[in-house]
């Protein structure tokens, strides 16, 4: 099967002006993916499905990723030579610049070809931001198997799929307002005491029980009559 770079080059030749780049995966799996712009996503998806050498006729997985807003600190070393004494070593000044990387939501598609028995080809779509531009084009008209999974991403991440035939919540109830898989989701505050809390539950315990409760006196179990 073609590498993501080869697919990117072919797509760029076929769709001039489309935003396509390869996102490398530094991990052991090395499953590199394509990042597609929203404008050409639908046309590219149809091309990937119908191209005779690729024939990616099955979309096996649609999932979402939440990338919240994050502050990035960049450190640059600026060395300025002393104008009076050029022989002296230059004074090094460490300059830190902070910039805010805006948050966005990402939808990842895994494609396989049943005809050619190859895959996966992975591509991603990104939303403009996490609030009012959380939209990507729906690919349900291209692969029917995306329907429920795009509804799930809509339900849990709050990504609106433009062109989806039936975009409703699928797991949570319709009246629900939150998106539980987002990083900033706050769950209902109904913690119950646990004897051995750890991790995030331990934080909840400390918030609800600043002083640990006294051991409850447990009544001895009465032996059942024979």
């Amino acid at each position: 099967m073609e590498s993501p770079e080869q697919i990117r080059d072919r797509l760029l030749a076929r769709f001039p002006g489309a935003e396509i780049s390869v996102v490398t995966n530094p991990g052991l799996a090395a499953q590199h993916s394509l990042l597609l712009g929203a404008a050409h996503a639908r046309a590219i998806a149809e091309f990937l499905r119908d191209d005779p050498t690729l024939r990616l006729d099955q979309c096996s997985n649609v999932t979402g990723i939440d990338w919240p807003e994050k502050e990035i600190v960049e450190t640059t070393n600026i060395s300025t030579p002393d104008p009076a004494n050029p022989a002296a070593p230059p004074t090094a000044v460490e300059q830190k610049t902070k910039r805010l990387q805006p948050g966005f939501l990402e939808v990842v598609y895994h494609l396989y070809s049943i005809t050619h028995r190859h895959g996966p080809v992975i591509f991603r779509l990104r939303t403009g931001n996490r609030t009012d531009q959380a939209t990507v084009p729906s690919l349900t008209p291209v692969w029917r198997s995306c329907e429920f999974q795009e509804r799930e991403v809509f339900d849990l991440f709050g990504v609106t799929f433009v062109g989806h035939p039936d975009l409703r919540r699928i797991l949570m109830w319709d009246e629900f307002k939150d998106h539980p898989m987002r990083r900033d989701y706050v769950e209902p505050d109904d913690y119950e005491w646990e004897p051995t809390p750890h991790g995030a539950v331990l934080e909840k315990t400390k918030a609800h029980y600043p002083t640990p409760p006294a051991p409850a006196s447990v009544a001895p179990v009465k032996a059942a009559a024979p």
Binding site: E175, F176, P188, D190, P195, K204, P213, P215
Partner: protein, 226 residues
Amino acid sequence: MFKRDPEDCPLSQEVTPPPPSVTETERDELRRQGILLTSLQELYTWGNSHSVWPLNFGLACCAIEMIAASMAKFDIARFGSEVFRPSPRQADLLIVSGTVTKKMAPQVIRLWNQMPEPKYCIAMGACAISGGPFKQGYNVLKGIDRFIPVDIYIPGCPPRPEALLHGLVQLQKKIQGFKLTGPDAPRHLRDDQPCNCPVPEFGEHDLEPPANPAVWTAPPAIVRKD
């Protein structure tokens, strides 16, 4: 439901029943001689306890064990509970077998309300008791006893069919201990206790209310000594 007119037939809570004129040992002696002495209460609870028909209703993996208990190898029919009713109108026992999600909880409570008295509830498995491994999640009810009164709790994940049979036998013992009159009479023979439980609404963040205070209070904190 059996409804008693309080004026026509006052609650017998004030009336102390006369001491039995025949003791247990005398009655057993007579039984050995072929003379059956019984009371209406004994007959009623005997019949009641040996024809507990469960509702044909499963929620998760515990339901598989419940089905196994109804099959030939474990054979719940030995205890008079072979008739799994497909309608709550004909069922006596609600076996909450599995994880109750918050989306499913109102439906479970509706089924409970549709069952005629006398009715019993078994919370089968860790999830139905407390939410189990999903207790700290956002979408699973932390125990069905938050909304409906539970008679028997069967721990396990999932419990073996033997455990379900043991729970059923315990329920039968509980039914056989019921008094027809007096302050210890079960719910369906009294006027001061409601038979139906309010169904919670789907809220914007959680079920509203998150628990029914008439049947549930927060459990005491159990602290492990180590």
